[in-house]
């Protein structure tokens, strides 16, 4: 078995939402809300998920293109401060094995009339995926979060 080279990268994405930190935080902590927005692309679906939102709890989803989901994200919540901070760590895999391991930090700050959300993901990529692809995925996901928060 030959391991591919591991590529380490860090991405930071900031978004401003016109609602309170409590509302943005709730979109992450409420499992039903989370299943509505936390998948990239309108033609992708979450086939299975588990959002056990507490320190030590599991964050899992099996997702992908409608009819053929093939990705699984499996992680653990490591730190939660209501309305302020979420830290989680885990892996993303496809049917061939792990593609990446990541440490993700989500910070929520009250700013102006709304909230500044800063998402930082520190990753070890073990397959073909790159940080640029990961940014593209999160950009689509956060577009959906924005729609969720307007509802």
């Amino acid at each position: 078995m030959t391991a591919c080279k591991v590529v380490h990268d860090t991405i930071v994405i900031e978004r401003r939402f016109a609602v309170s930190p409590a509302r943005v935080f709730a979109a992450w902590s409420d499992p039903n809300a989370r299943d509505r927005w936390d998948v990239p692309g309108d033609d992708w679906v979450i086939a299975e998920s588990e959002h056990d939102f507490r320190v030590g709890g599991r964050e899992y989803s099996y997702f992908g293109p409608r009819g053929a989901p093939r990705y699984s994200g499996d992680g653990t919540y490591l730190r939660i401060i209501p309305d302020s901070l979420i830290v989680m760590a885990g892996t993303m895999s496809d049917e061939t094995g792990p593609m990446s391991a990541s440490l993700s930090t989500v910070e929520f700050q009250a700013g102006g009339p709304g909230t500044l959300m800063r998402y930082t993901e520190q990753s070890a990529f073990m397959g073909d995926e790159t940080a640029a692809m990961r940014i593209e995925g999160w950009t689509e996901i956060f577009d959906r979060l924005e729609v969720e928060l307007k509802g």
């Binding site: 380490h8 930071v12 730190r79 885990g90 440490l103 930082t120 520190q122 990753s123 073990m126």
Partner: protein, 154 residues
């Protein structure tokens, strides 16, 4: 609750050891071999540790100076390729305060009868209880101890 902060930092340490990748890997995978180098300073006395070296398995290690705060290391193994790669996430507590969460990747490459080790740590340091530079120093000290544990007479 006003002093909340997160500092993200990545450091990389590269070392070469006069031991095969299999021996270096074993120093991470075998609880007894790991205990020879992965511990606090001698004045801390013995650590309390447990490890379950498989993907999804956990490792804990607790220790500290007498009368001082307990340092707790709690890790979960995320990926293991024998003799080549270990990826784990871990958090550090001082008593009940979580001071950091990190993603660590260890890569081993054969190098002319020895092994090159690349240690990459991507950390989130919480509320300024610890600094990336101190963690890097501490990690270098641990890798020095690892090197000593790999010497033939050890």
């Amino acid at each position: 609750m006003s002093n909340r902060s997160v500092t993200h930092s990545t450091f990389v340490i590269e070392r070469r050891f006069d031991a095969s990748p299999a021996r270096v890997f074993n120093a991470f995978a075998d609880p007894q071999a790991k205990a020879r180098w992965f511990s606090g300073p001698p004045e801390w006395g013995p650590d309390i540790s447990e490890m379950d070296f498989r993907v999804g398995g956990r490792e804990t290690n607790r220790g500290g100076a007498p009368g001082g705060p307990v340092h707790s290391f709690d890790a979960t193994y995320q990926d293991i390729v024998p003799n080549e790669r270990i990826v784990f996430t871990y958090d550090m507590h001082l008593d009940d305060v979580r001071i950091s969460v990190s993603l660590t990747t260890i890569e081993l490459t054969p190098d002319a009868g020895g092994t090159r080790l690349k240690f990459t740590e991507q950390g989130a340091f919480l509320d300024a209880f610890d600094k990336p530079a101190l963690r890097e120093e501490g990690t270098k000290g641990l890798l020095d101890a690892l090197e000593a544990s790999l010497k033939p007479d050890h």
